[in-house]
Symmetry: C2
Subunit: 470 residues, 2 copies
Amino acid sequence: MNQLQQLSDRIISRVNANLMELEFDTSTFVNHALDHDKMLEFYAFYGITSRHPLYFNFKNSNIAGSYFLGKCYVGRSAIYKSDVRGDELKREGDCIKSAKDIPLVEDEMISILDSLLYKTLVHSNSHNPESPELFSIRNTISAHYANIHGSTLEGCFLGPFATVDLMNLHSCVVGEFSYVQVGELFHRKIDPGTVWIKNPHFEFKYKFKNSILDNFVGVTDTHQPRGVIYDFVRARDQEFERLFEVMHLEPFEVPGSSAINRYAVIKGKTRIGENVLVAQRALLQNATMGDGSNAQENSYIIDSVLEGNCITAHGGKIIHADVGQECFVGFNSFLNGGPDARIQIGEGCIIMPHTIINPSMPIQIPSEHLVWGYIQSPEDLATHTISLDALAEVRESLTVGQMTFSGKGSVFIGSFKDRLKKILKDNGALFKDGENRGHAQDDQNISYNIIQPYRTGERKGLYPSIRIKP
Amino acid sequence: MNQLQQLSDRIISRVNANLMELEFDTSTFVNHALDHDKMLEFYAFYGITSRHPLYFNFKNSNIAGSYFLGKCYVGRSAIYKSDVRGDELKREGDCIKSAKDIPLVEDEMISILDSLLYKTLVHSNSHNPESPELFSIRNTISAHYANIHGSTLEGCFLGPFATVDLMNLHSCVVGEFSYVQVGELFHRKIDPGTVWIKNPHFEFKYKFKNSILDNFVGVTDTHQPRGVIYDFVRARDQEFERLFEVMHLEPFEVPGSSAINRYAVIKGKTRIGENVLVAQRALLQNATMGDGSNAQENSYIIDSVLEGNCITAHGGKIIHADVGQECFVGFNSFLNGGPDARIQIGEGCIIMPHTIINPSMPIQIPSEHLVWGYIQSPEDLATHTISLDALAEVRESLTVGQMTFSGKGSVFIGSFKDRLKKILKDNGALFKDGENRGHAQDDQNISYNIIQPYRTGERKGLYPSIRIKP
């Protein structure tokens, strides 16, 4: 049996052992997702900069098409066309509140062991107070366009377009298009299309109807993604291929305070302001990025205008939309406007992660609103948005349409706004006069190194063991 | 002071310390050769195959534009656009006659320490019986298109287009366009344009006239190359650039037993036979490569036909020539025929390393001849060639034109022919029915990995420390 088959079999059996209780078998997904020929064909790459601590160690793995930045260890894993972006890893000496303010004894590192990540994004840093120096993903399989954001995982399966955010999961299955940010979970199966935020102070929950989910993000018998959002992404796959075919690209002209990743696609009449970050595998077409706005991995901004300090989280898609100042468009959101169905979003709105707006006529969302779920007409706004002022009044609980909220609305909004401020700061949106550097400034001047697997012989399909230090 | 300047200053002072006795200062050469901007710009690359033991370790160095294959350690060195090709390194268990037939305890490794190699070729393996497991280059500077072939060096300077072959040098200066294969040398200065082979059984010596040298391979005040041969090479530099700009090239179609390196230029009506090796940085244009022929690094074969089993050694240039079966065209030879001045070389000829043929009319060299020096007309053949049969008769000494030979001609020819057989075998020219694999077969399917330096910050210009194992 070849090395790639052995590798994926070993991962399947380890993850299955963790998910036995949930009676979940990952082999169907893995065996249908992996194309061993492609795992031989694509190169992997990692970034060298003077702004991020450097340590890469790849062993007994296939990392075809994947990108790495920051300190990272990969062992006995298959990481296919994924982005492992460690530019928010904590540094030696940093103090973590949740870890009793004890300073970190060394730079944090991402560690991926016995896992299979398929077109997955890994970003941020460990929010696990037990392992502040280790952002660990073990015995885990994640599917297409899943986001592993600041979450340590052990023995989990994440379905396509699922997001786990700032939490720890042990032996869990997260269904497709589910977003969870609930602290810690053990041995749980999260239904597809669940948007769930929970902490000691509040809880937000919404679940997509099966019919909607089936249309937008379904899975086949073999757990492969299907539906409108997957088709949208797949239709644009080819745009990225050119970036991988050439060594040097003429950089797109941007202000010196902004960074356009060399593996981003920029098309049409696109304008980039100051302090803008466009991450790898983002696609901008006829897009205006106002000062301090950003487009994270796997985001698409097409025929749209983002005013200043807008955040497009990983996997966010914004089409035919005008987005006001300081809006947040959450993970994997799909704002699918059209030429005759433009989406206008007022200032300071929070588009919750995994929101779908799919209008057949123009639609306006007023300023300072929270937006969630599935919206296809102006009528849906009543049951899928709430003004932040109204939400701030909530002291115990609230139900709007299918959404339930409990806890203090003001705390929810406050913590959300704090996080957005932090995101803007981390991304370099607030850079001025040399102060407040962030990714837009630090993720410029990346040298990309390329590594390839053995193409023949005993170790065919595996990458050589590589260790890189300053 | 920046890291690159520090690095080259350190190398200069170490090499100068070795060459103090010869009153040779390398700083002029180094400071005029190195362009720090280019050392930041170019990527380095190394090959991964299942046919060669894998170990790369690059530390505190700049290796811009260089290529590595086989086991190699590079420390505190600048290796610029060089080829370090370890596909002939000895393996664990190999027995070396000169080292009392004691089997090697480990795979041989190339080690380059405190050295600066500029557009240099490093190939073959250590012929130093004291260090059979280490092909070592220390405290050494080599200039444009120098060949370090199976030679261990310590404290040396090699001028442009110089070749050191199967020997050991300590604290030596080898002048431009000199070829030396004389066992071992200490504290010697070799005049430019010297072609010198010496062993216990025979000695061959030829020295180019200064006027010829000045025209073909001179150096400027700052030890940079100038002259016809350098101009020839420089005029074709651009042809190679395209190869470095794209990730994937459609491979040139060749028989399955032949290898065309992905970093070779193939142009015009070029035909490749069976068991052919075309190494990186070779250029073929309207070239016919007969079965078993090869073109090594920095060789150019233009408007020429090579019959079967011809060897074009590193840096050999063959233009408008017809080369018969089993000919050897030595290192850095310049066979500069023209449309009306075609060079015909009969079967079994040995064109000595560093031979220049620059005719203004057609010229024929009969079969089984040894050819050396500078030839520009048929009249020159009398003083620059000898039939192998006539040479075989020599028992004590012979002078032909400026060439002097002493020793037994038959031994000289015998050892030369043995070496050519070995070269053909090593290169895979004799591959048949799965037997006698060589470079033409083993150097196929190379995965090229790309590494780049820090482009900003404290370590700007240096490459990160990289260690690669299977």
